[in-house]
């Protein structure tokens, strides 16, 4: 089965630093998503991206967050100035064009903000 790949698997950063989490969605997918899971809490939607623009974002996705598809394969999440509460597992997901089709999730990047 095709896979969504995420790098790095674990990122440690100092509070206030910028981080970029990278994702390579499945090649023919057109919808891209970022979710996160704070330890012990539920999986939360952050943002969806289609046709080179954000289609929806949650309250969590404030001005400190941005997403980009810099080339035809990568989909990145940038946190401009990390806070302690940004520590979480961040999941990238993608899907094809059929409405309601399942999301394929990556294995996640564990972000630890010290």
């Amino acid at each position: 089965e095709p896979e969504v790949t995420q790098t790095p698997s674990h990122q440690v950063t100092q509070m206030g630093q910028e981080v970029i989490l990278r994702c390579v969605p499945i090649s023919n997918h057109l919808y891209f998503y970022w979710y996160r899971q704070i330890l012990g809490q539920k999986v939360e939607f952050l943002v969806s991206f289609y046709n080179n623009e954000i289609s929806e974002k949650s309250e969590i996705f404030d001005d400190q967050f941005s997403v980009e598809r810099p080339d035809g394969s990568n989909f990145t999440l940038k946190i401009r100035s990390t806070k302690l509460e940004d520590s979480a597992m961040y999941f990238c997901a993608s899907r094809g064009v059929v409405s309601g089709e399942k999301l394929f999730f990556g294995s996640g990047t564990q972000l630890s903000v010290l």
Partner: protein, 114 residues
């Protein structure tokens, strides 16, 4: 806003016991329903999904779920669990009229004792 509720946060049972995990959602429109599983140290994986048709859905690894529209429920079941079913289970709902993101329940941690 749509919400997804999973009634049990933790379930402990012995091998060969039957498992049922509850999931209720609040959205009243047309919904697609999913159960995801996250094994220790691994990424989210799709167990099964419901889009339309037979409300009893069979998934991988012997799991099944039943969509009861009148109860806004999509409970997950397995007649006889194995130690390898130890994982966290997430119910998720995609309401098409509310955008194409998934909303996750809080998860249920299942521990199967050998």
């Amino acid at each position: 806003a749509q919400s997804v509720s999973q009634h049990n946060h933790h379930v402990i049972l012995s091998e060969a016991a039957s498992l049922e995990l509850g999931c209720n959602y609040s959205y009243g429109g047309t919904v697609n329903l999913f159960w995801y599983v996250q094994y220790p140290g691994q990424h989210l994986q799709l167990l099964l999904k419901y889009f339309s048709g037979d409300p009893l859905v069979k998934g991988i690894k012997g799991f099944e779920a039943e969509f009861i529209k009148s109860k806004f429920s999509f409970n997950l079941r397995k007649p006889s669990v194995q130690w390898s079913d130890t994982a966290e289970y997430f119910c998720a709902v995609n309401a098409l009229a509310a955008g194409n993101k998934l909303t996750f329940g809080g998860g249920t941690r299942v521990l199967v004792k050998p």
